[in-house]
Amino acid sequence: MLGLEKKDFRLLLIVIGLTMLAPFILNPFPEGSEMAQFNAGYPDLMQRFVIFGIFAIGFNILFGLTGYLSFGHAAFLGVGSYAAVWMFKLLSMNVLPAIILSVIIAGLFSLLIGFISLRRSGIYFSILTLAFAQMSFALAYSVLTPITGGETGLQLALDDPRIFGVAQTASGNIPVPAIFGLEMRASYELALGSWLFTFNAGYYLAALFLILSFYLAIRIFRSPFGMMLRAIKSNQTRMSYTGLNARPYTLAAFVISGMYAGLAGGLMASMDPLAGAERMQWTASGEVVLMTILGGAGTLIGPVLGAGMIKYFENIFSKINDTILHGWFAFLPDGLENFVVAIIHPFIGKGWHLTLGLVFMLVVIFLPGGLVQGGQKIAAMFRRKQPEDAQSKATEPAE
């Protein structure tokens, strides 16, 4: 189906199902209940899930397949966002040209950086990419302020010279990004009993791009090109003595993943038209590395899971405060309530970093293959009867 093997097609269907039904899946708790704190089904976070999912899928094409660990991929995301916002400022508020341009610009930028960085391998390659990204960040934050907006980020203004479109709306406001008139922020809300589900136009556009990206990633993984990339990771000596030139293959993978990053950046700017320099900082590059490893590098679905997990922690755990905790444990006797709250307190709100750090450590200690391996372990527990299944798994191309 669609040029995919049965198993891959099933995976694609699962991803389509998950993204299309995300507003339901992410909002399992009734509105107004104590557990509603854990609901993630609001437009901003849902958009972030898929956008960072795209970013991580792209990163995984480079890192998971070729083993080249780039520490500078956030630069391409940042460049993509800047390109998109400039498109909004100069051309029109339609997101399509902005997204297309951001993919192109990020592709060109990654071609340049990849061409230079890929002259080295291993940690030397990592440091080269890190150096380029840090330079981009430092310059964008300071001397390039006229182009990038610097500290405050590049944003729209009331006097933008928009060629196709108006500078201001009738009510004197800055117009918002839209696709052929459908605003990215437009939402439709569905109340079912005490549950409330939000269907956001921007989210579905981004989700559509995620599905496309995921589909393309499957095709790449299962293509001769993808096999060559895995061969590069496995043995570069044999690669060249088999008559294959590793450089253009790695460069192509680098540019593809750079374009994925640019797509993520363009989508980010389309959902929320502001591009900040911090998007390019090394910590942002490190974040996508963590997402990929956390989910399972070299697997198809892993990076998406990793991205979701980190963004969930960042957005949900950071918002829990002591007042909420006291609300949850109000049923306990006072002394016990305070005790329990005091125990949990360091891990939530301002302590969400601590929780994330612990999760990294636990996952990598107990699940070297990331969350995907965790999923496989659980799945294996349910079908112990078929041991040969587990054996053949090892030889299948990366899942």
Partner: protein, 448 residues
């Protein structure tokens, strides 16, 4: 499709129980009833406190959060009422806002514009916050302000000092109580001239980003107007931690004053380094060498320890002010938390009260009504003397404090002493002043 844009869960939470059961999909029209985003229900109203909880400004964020919690307590009639008693407007009576109990949600800006906007959006989209406030840097303030404008939410800025927040990046839905770079320069210059003379040569070290630029410009133009000369102005990277190579050449540059346009960790390190190099004891051009820090923060001054003593700077507010409002606030904050509040705590507390008061006076949560009530509002009793919320740019105009690091502080909170309270007249500027040029408020956006 209905463009409900941003949901208003406040309404739903209360109104939903009635419509329980397997309802058919329906377009939610509550928005259009109220005509603005996140119209609150009848019993409670939700405010969003968006402060840095991780990263280098986490302590300032924590102090802001304390002030917010205190403000909520006072608005809901708890505690000793704080500045509600001294506020010139008597609209607030301790029954919440327009009879609704004040609830709040918190978030982490991480002092990054992306994270701050994500957090603000989640407050608006998920929690149904009607107003967002907080922040501890201008980058974040400008970013969140623009977001609130788009969403149709009022933004009450926290600690943000760049001219741009109410200058080129001002927005109709955003309001700033805190002072700015221009005011710092205008307040400092006369005091510096009086103490150090008008024949001085200044060397600027400036943080290489927007806030640094506006502060350097403001201090430069104000001091040059007093007769000072600017010898050199060097930009330093935000990520710099060791400033020795920037400080070392200063003493031999012909300058006799060093101006550190730095904030936060940069300020702590550059000041510590400068003192290490012996600049405070040095002589230049036959005069004592002096250091100036245009924007002081008591929390950050603590990091520099004894190095701040004798060094001039400006600040928005200080707990040792003797007016009734400041005293009341310091008392209720100190009683609750055991130590005096910072200027960040003060401005966020005041912003919360000002918002609540404006809603009450307007009789509506509609952002446009609230904005109208805030614009050109004159008030007193909130710690800075008579104050004007100017309608033209949504900036508060009030007295500015010039402070000096104390020589012999009694404890870690007692680091600054007030040298002069510069009257508001001296720090007022025209809305179209060149340092604030290049932006427009636009018109208020109620969202929905």
């Amino acid at each position: 499709m209905s463009n409900s844009k941003f949901s208003r869960r406040g309404v739903l939470k209360t109104g939903m129980v009635a419509s329980a059961g397997l309802a058919l999909p329906q377009y939610l029209r509550a928005d259009s009833h109220a005509g603005f985003t996140n119209a609150p229900g009848d019993s409670e109203v939700i405010l969003g406190f968006n402060v840095p909880q991780t990263g280098p400004y986490a302590d300032e964020g924590a102090d802001e959060l304390r002030a917010y919690e205190l403000a909520v307590e006072h608005l809901n009639g708890g505690g000793d009422g704080g500045m509600l008693g001294t506020f010139s407007s008597k609209a607030l009576d301790g029954t919440g806002i327009l009879g609704r109990e004040v609830k709040y949600v918190t978030g982490d800006t991480q002092t990054k514009s992306d994270a701050a906007r994500a957090s603000a959006r989640s407050m608006i989209e998920k929690d149904g916050a009607i107003m967002i406030t907080g922040g501890s840097s201008s980058g974040v303030a400008v970013a969140v302000q623009a977001l609130c404008q788009e969403a149709g939410i009022i933004f009450m800025a926290g600690l943000t000092h760049s001219n741009d927040t109410t200058g080129k990046d001002k927005r109709a839905n955003g309001f700033r109580h805190f002072f700015n770079s221009y005011m710092s320069g205008a307040a400092l210059a006369p005091v510096l001239a009086a103490n150090y003379g008008t024949d001085r040569k200044a060397y600027h070290l400036t943080a290489d980003y927007n806030w640094g630029y506006t502060t350097e410009e403001a201090v430069k133009s104000s001091t040059e107007a007093m007769g000072w000369e600017t010898v050199n102005a060097v930009k330093t990277p935000l990520t710099q931690t060791d400033f020795s190579s920037y400080i070392a050449p200063v003493l031999n540059s012909g300058a006799d004053v060093l101006v550190l346009n730095h904030y936060g960790g940069n300020m702590v390190n550059s000041l510590t380094n400068a003192v290490q190099f012996g600049l405070r004891e040095a002589q230049a051009n036959g005069k004592n060498f002096e250091i100036v820090v245009p924007l002081y923060s008591r929390l950050m001054a603590r990091g520099a320890g004894a190095n701040v003593s004798g060094i001039f700077g400006s600040t928005n507010w200080h707990w040792s002010l003797q007016d009734a409002g400041s005293q009341a606030f310091t008392r209720s904050f100190g009683t609750k938390y055991g130590f005096p509040p910072s200027q960040a705590a003060h401005t966020t507390y005041v912003q919360t009260l000002l918002y609540a008061d404006a809603v009450t006076r307007a009789g509506s949560f509609n952002p446009c009504a609230v904005a109208e009530a805030l614009e050109d509002f004159e008030f007193d009793g909130l710690g800075n003397g008579p104050t004007l919320y100017r309608g033209a740019d949504h900036q508060c105009f009030k007295d500015v404090l010039v402070v000096k690091g104390k020589e012999n502080p009694e404890n870690e909170f007692d680091l600054l002493e007030i040298v002069e309270v510069t009257p508001v007249g001296q720090v007022t500027y025209a809305p179209d002043h060149p340092q604030f040029a290049g932006g427009a408020l636009g018109s208020c956006n109620p969202g929905a």
